[in-house]
Amino acid sequence: MKNNYKFIFLIMFIASSINAQNLLEKLDKEFNVEEIDEIATFKTTRIGLSHSIETRKKGALQLSLYFRYWDTNAPSGQNFLADKVSTRYGLDYAFTDNFTLGIGYTNYDKLVDGYFKYQLLKQTKDSNKRWFSLTLVQTISHQELTSTIYDVYESATTSENSYAFVTQALFARKFNPNLSLQITPSFIYRNKNNENDDPTSQFAIGIGGRHRLSKHTSFVSEYNYVLNSIDSIETYNTFMVGVNWEVRNFIFQFHLTNARSFAEDLFLTKTTNNFNFRDPNLHFGFNTTYVIQTKRRK
């Protein structure tokens, strides 16, 4: 009889203790498995030259200053650091979490550019639902081209408006917390050329990536290949390597590139120097962006 009671007590003890230890495991089951979007594929809205798939959340205003420095062919120059500098002043505003509008002015090229950026798809984390993120960008740029016709008796200066439209579809995937890659096919359309047989529509495809070096810095690189380049002048494909540093609301990007312009239609198709370390081909770029949150996102 005694054995019976011992046996019963043992069973009751085991039963009660099994239940009490599983509280955290029970909580694990209660979590609804919903798909979580991947964040921070690039952390910056531009990889360096081209746009990245990132768009800021609603109400975010980005003030940006992009600088590009390069030397010219002149045998001796007295300029401090670099001979030429080109600056782009930019403003980007996110109307919704997925849609951003931006405008900018470049002083060296005397070019005004604006863009719409819409994030169509977001990569999902840990599931095979959406394998990559997709963002569409439409850039419009305007330049006033002046040309002077020299005649024996008088010279006439004409100026015409040159518009260029660039449509890009950005496909990017975050492979792991340290590596993200992006492919950028682009279509460039120019409304007129300087009286030559250059194609007005061009296609380019770019590949860019980001590798995280530390919690706040990353290494970026980009290469853009033009499928049908123009013939009137010799152009080269653009290449960029750089480092991004994110601190609080500031984003700093430092890079080396052979592109001189900031507008997609110019740097993709009209870069006239190759990327090598001989002067004057090494161009140094420095981008600063400051993000302000303008309204409560509730």
Partner: protein
């Protein structure tokens, strides 16, 4: 045969009694944290924290997804998840503990919950003073406590040391309802 039958029925009763009345779950617990510095105030709220309390054993468990913390600024949210708590590696924050000297009948009481807090892969023993309200045997637990950022191996770069407080205040409120498995 009789012995087996008797023990099985006892088991049955043990299991039956242990659950429904004694385990409560809170599905939309609110957990928020604040960092106050002279330069910047940072705060975030998580409205999807889960918690179960077992009133027979006086045990409590809390679990929440780090990604569910909502910030006013998007960049803060990205920095928080990517660089500070690294939610890719440690997606959840957990707490497992015991409510000391709980009196199930009292309407309002303040008791200490002692347990282990798990954030960013680091566990720490803490004691939290909690206000426990009993509304028709459904409980509401609320309170606040401080934690040190350093204790959980969260690294703040020296340049931002003045923007993020070393001690962070965490507030929580859980409303429980009966839990059926």
């Amino acid at each position: 045969m009789n012995k087996v039958f008797l023990s099985l029925t006892l088991l049955f009763f043990v299991f039956k009694n242990l659950n429904a009345q004694n385990q409560k779950i809170a599905r939309q617990g609110q957990v928020s944290f604040f960092s106050y510095t002279s330069v910047e105030n940072i705060e975030a709220v998580n409205n999807q924290a889960l918690s179960i309390i077992d009133l027979k054993e006086n045990k409590i468990a809390i679990s929440m997804l780090m990604r569910a913390f909502v910030f006013k600024k998007d960049l803060m949210y990205q920095h928080f998840n990517e660089s500070y708590v690294e939610s890719d590696l440690y997606p959840k924050a957990n707490f497992e503990g015991e409510i000391l000297n709980l009196n199930r009948e009292e309407k309002i009481q303040t008791k200490i919950i002692k347990g282990r807090l798990d954030i960013h892969g680091v566990s720490k023993e803490i004691e939290i003073k909690t206000k426990i309200e009993n509304v028709k045997d459904n409980f509401i637990l609320s309170g606040d406590f401080n934690v040190k950022v350093n204790d959980f191996d969260i690294q703040i770069p020296p340049i931002l040391a003045s923007n993020i407080a070393k001690t962070i205040t965490i507030k929580f409120k859980f409303q429980y309802e009966p839990y059926e498995e």
